[in-house]
Symmetry: C2
Amino acid sequence: MKKKIQVLIVDDHYLLRIGLANSLNVESDIACVAEARTGAEAIELYRKHMPDIVLMDLRLPDMNGIDATVKLRSEFPNAAVIILSTFDGEEDIFRSLQAGARSYVPKDISRDELLKIIRHAHDGKHTLPALIAGRLAQRMQRRELTEREHEVLRLVVEGQTNKQIAASLQIAEVTVKLHVSSILTKLGARDRTQASTMAIQRGIVHLMN
Amino acid sequence: MKKKIQVLIVDDHYLLRIGLANSLNVESDIACVAEARTGAEAIELYRKHMPDIVLMDLRLPDMNGIDATVKLRSEFPNAAVIILSTFDGEEDIFRSLQAGARSYVPKDISRDELLKIIRHAHDGKHTLPALIAGRLAQRMQRRELTEREHEVLRLVVEGQTNKQIAASLQIAEVTVKLHVSSILTKLGARDRTQASTMAIQRGIVHLMN
DNA sequence: TCAGCCCTAATACTTTCGTATAGTCCCGTG
DNA sequence: CACGGGACTATACGAAAGTATTAGGGCTGA
């Protein structure tokens, strides 16, 4: 008998971990070997079990699923990570794949598609659900925001005025205006309010509770 | 032997349905009797099975979980609905309970707490997780937006200017400004951009894909 | 019936936003 | 070394946004 595909599940949602573990263990060629709740725990358990596949939630208590992927792959460059997410913002997809993930799947995925993607990922292939691939294509068209523009955008989303942003970043208000203008053109937004919702929608900025 | 608490699960996420069904069926006094993927299906299956408890996702393909609850309870006023949600915006909590839900639980809830809430709901009690209760308390303090203000806010979040909103709603721009001002004071926002993100954060407005 | 709230509107004024143009400094790539 | 790009600053202007005040009409509940 062939060795099963060993999977590490990383998710802080209890219900989802059960659902995943059950779905996988039913299959004859796949087995869930460990479950982690945090990014740190994920790396620890990866060292211990050396699984073939990591199913990683995008939102984790301690760190971002993307950062966790980067950290994991810096230690284990061959780690096959599949990002699981409720969000389907283009930016999250883009960054996940940049971080070296083999795939990116929304949590409302069907059982069959998930299994297919796990098997493909195990074979070294990069498979994306059609919807996700479409989002990614959209994202590729756009020019990326610079680091500074990201900072400014974050503050814009928080509702700060240009003057407040200038104070926060220790730069002149005119400079802030310049950055905002640049952000607007890059995002294709008419004003800061639209830029703000677009940023949230696309996953460029995440609202935390 | 006592009759088990019969539960209807309403969620379009395959993984979560499995997780839930498994968690519940392990218990000796609880049984999942049916699973629905949409609001319409939920009502249909409720008629058929007459379950004791409905676990309803807030986000459904066809309609809102809150609307589904209202519809269900207009036909079956004694239906015990527990809303399940990834969001923990105050507004969603508030509206869910207004719609007659027995409880509102986030999807990252622990197994024990979920079971406790199901049993309490079955006894007719209204139990809320501490975090959720806190959010609700915040919400209760605030004055509610009027219907018109909601409409305006939705358009503000879309990034429309006052002039565009005036055109959309067939009213004068000055009137729009008045509504916006009123919204700002009620939300405690400085400007429309902040109001916009607050509205998203609190679940007053939902972004759709 | 009257008070109170909501929606509507007009006028007037201040502040902020967004764009345009022009120029300096620094850094990494070719 | 030159070139391009990013970050920064300055000045100036028109377009929105936001505030304040006043006021009429409609609906509701005491």
